[in-house]
Symmetry: C2
Subunit: 485 residues, 2 copies
């Protein structure tokens, strides 16, 4: 058990972060890209040391954790590339227009600047990709913000070792001292969140914890943005045509997805809507029964799962199809779901999912409409026969989710330009933001517009000559060219 | 006096807005652009009817209000153009990459979709540009959100007439019923803000009102984003070299700026930092004395200004340089300011400003550092002799403001791509967002990523053929071309 950060250590971490803010903000994007690449390289180089610690502390298998290290370092490199290309700064230049109506327009040059020190609450379920070296950290560093990570108690030694690797890499690469720090302890995290030196926070975890921290952040004397990823059910809706075409694949894909990583994914499909008479019960029960029991991330999560299962077993209208091995499969119908949606639509984190049978397309639509905000919503359909039905369902899914999948499974979140990992409340607080993908950095950047400022004193990225050749929007059009004024 | 909206009327307005959300979200961007242009045209056509009502209700002069109408209609047309060009949707497409490491990457297509019904709290000081037909409304409509405006009680008849013009234009152009609505009354606004059908809110007004409404919005059972523009001091810093080069112009520009519109601009320069021995006192006093008394926007604002002046007059270290006409000029020094910064750095809305004299560059820097968040910060300097000083001050101003001006005056906010009207708390809650300029729409949009979805069921803007030829980022590069997959 790692001891909590002491008040003196917390004070030092916050002071260091605050002092790093100005030099980080002043650093050239390419310089920052270099520091971030150094962290990525160091993580990859330390994988052999870090992964075994993670295996011991989280019970996750080696291949999964190695994949996570690669994902985390790849994510850092993606941000480095986009920093160099320049899009991350969203430079917009409108040159002066003395003839503009109703009044002449000055020269305006807008760039995104870092907010300042960012507090990251690490998650338990991805000890690399959503923890110390995860997406919140990577995007905040790319934005140019010092980062203080509040370690998750589920993998304390891994957190400390990962932080050491990162700090050493940053130091060697020449990043300002205080660019990165680690703190431990729940109350310590709350105190950091209340500190005026912290300018934004990212969080991945449970709905109650996320709501409590959100309220602290937004009701401080100086409110700060709080980006929380809370809970998500990730429903999957399957049409009759999809069952006819590939019912067996859907059944096996579903069980594999909801039991992946012992069901401990934010994107675990919590419900599968099937047409009545699907004929897949036997296969689903068999596949579920074949899932080997596995240790969950930690005691608290295992206890939460056990009590969540107990709760679900007692809900009227929910029937157990398979239990006792490494996963539990429940079953209900749309009318029963609608009658007890509050009880049935409460996330249970772990290897459990619910098959919901619908008797008509209207029931399927009613099932979709029963949902609030989710990270993902999935439709399994066949393009031709389901064209009309898909056109009806897609807008309903879009209104409820941040990512809409077609004939896939929500577990697994690609890191790319177009990715969006977020969604309407309660899947996140802050549905306009993503915690994965290039635009995740925007959470930690604010725009500044310079008016009529001479080239010589402007930040280099805003200067006429565009010395680094970055991508900028000039008078409405994206270009890497020089500006004349 | 216009009566408050009744509970039944509010219920109807919210129901109408909620029902308009889906058809608005489904509308093609070009279709929405047409509706928005129709509103712009109708406003221009109604100027002769609306402006006299505004003059009577706000005491603002005709030319100013006609300028505001043109600014508002121009702003609507800007959003219509950007909708057609496509950038407002921020379409990002990453085609599938089966060879991606560590795992194959699916086809992902990200687009910004509307949040849903938006509540706009209108401001008093810009009865067009930040009121019923102002920037919050324009940007939310552009985003595809139904808008419910809570009218400001300072110009009730103008609010009703403006809303009628807008609603008739939207109806005639074929926009969904419920696209726009108007409500009146403080408690009515609060009730609307608490209603689960409202998905975001914009506000321009005082710090206490903004903080109270912000807290309601973010602590609802389902928290929503609240974009509030609250208070700003907009300090102006003048170097010795600038005084030497054009002291008289600076003095006259300053008085004109802080008394513009009876000092009722959010961007009014509240403090002017001058080097001791500037020799401009006589000119500043004379110019201030020459400002004609004028009626303020309403009784409440006039009373607030009178009590604010009383308060300032009693602050130790603040001396009156000129008072009694249409404006009041106070004076202090940096050491006195630092000794009583809490009292001196409290916004007083109206035609008053404070000259702050500094005895050294270090005092000037200390003066800059005394400020928290502001909408604007201005430097008057001479490029050559002040190169070093400007390089020292610019980062400090950047850290404190959303717009940094060089040798200009902060009053007047151009509407363009590069504009940013926002800033660190307390100038706004939500410093990462702007209420003016193209990106203002982002406050009311959330991303959705479609994974592996067939072309035929995708929204047209995401389809391979790019039927409307909009601007999209494909595999990292901006293009208007077709996508092959």
């Amino acid at each position: 058990m790692t001891p909590d950060t002491t008040p003196a250590e917390l004070e030092q971490a916050l002071t260091d972060a605050a002092e790093a803010a100005a030099p980080l903000a002043a650093s050239a994007p390419a310089e920052r890209a270099g520091w971030i690449r150094a962290v990525a390289d160091a993580l990859d180089a330390a994988a052999d040391e870090l992964v075994p610690i993670g295996m011991r502390e989280t019970s996750l298998p080696e291949a999964r954790l190695r994949g996570e290290v690669a994902r985390s370092s790849g994510q850092l490199r993606m941000f480095a590339e986009v920093l160099e290309e320049g899009s991350l700064l969203e430079v917009v230049i409108d040159t002066a227009d003395p003839n503009a109506k109703p009044v002449p327009r000055p020269d305006l040059r807008r760039v995104l600047v870092p907010l300042g020190p960012v507090l990251v609450f690490a998650a338990s379920n991805f000890p690399f990709a959503f923890s110390v070296c995860g997406g919140d950290t990577a995007s905040a560093l790319a934005a140019g913000c010092p980062v203080v990570v509040k370690a998750h108690p589920g993998h304390p030694e891994l957190s400390v070792k990962t932080a050491e690797v990162m700090m050493e890499a940053l130091r060697t690469a020449g990043a300002p001292a205080g660019t990165f720090g680690l703190i431990q302890g729940y109350d310590v995290g709350v105190n950091a969140l209340k500190d005026p030196r912290i300018t934004a926070a990212g969080f991945t975890g449970s709905v109650p914890a996320g709501k409590a921290l959100h309220e602290i952040a937004v009701t401080r004397p100086e409110p700060i943005p709080f980006y929380g990823e809370l809970g998500s059910l990730n429903p999957v809706f399957v049409t009759q045509a999809a069952i006819d075409a590939r019912g067996k694949d859907i059944a096996s894909g579903y069980v594999a997805s909801y039991t992946l990583g012992v069901g401990q994914f934010c994107t675990k499909p919590g419900l599968l809507f099937l047409p009545a008479g699907h004929g897949l019960q036997e296969q689903l029960v068999e596949a579920t029964g074949g899932v080997a029991a596995a240790t969950m991330l930690n005691e608290r999560i295992a206890e939460g799962f056990a009590s969540g299962l107990d709760r679900l077993r007692k809900v009227d209208g929910l029937r157990v199809w398979s239990e006792g091995g490494g996963a539990t499969l429940l079953q209900t119908t749309v009318p029963e779901l609608l009658a007890r949606s509050d009880e049935i639509l409460e996330e249970c984190f772990g290897p459990v999912s619910i098959v919901v049978e619908y008797a008509s397309v209207d029931e399927l639509v009613a099932g979709v409409e029963a949902f609030g905000g989710n990270l993902t919503a999935t439709l399994h359909a066949e393009a031709e026969p389901d064209a009309e039905l898909a056109a009806r369902l897609l807008p309903l899914l879009t209104a409820r989710a941040g990512r809409v999948l077609w004939n896939g499974w929500p577990t697994g979140v690609a890191v790319s330009w177009a990715q969006h990992h977020g969604g309407p409340f309660p899947s996140t607080v802050g549905s306009i933001h993503t915690s994965v993908g290039v635009t995740a950095a925007r959470r930690f950047q604010r725009p500044v517009a310079y008016q009529d400022t001479p080239d010589a004193v402007l930040p280099a990225v805003l200067q006429d000559k565009n010395p680094a050749g970055i991508s900028r929007r000039v008078n409405g059009t994206i270009t890497t060219a020089e500006v004349s004024r």
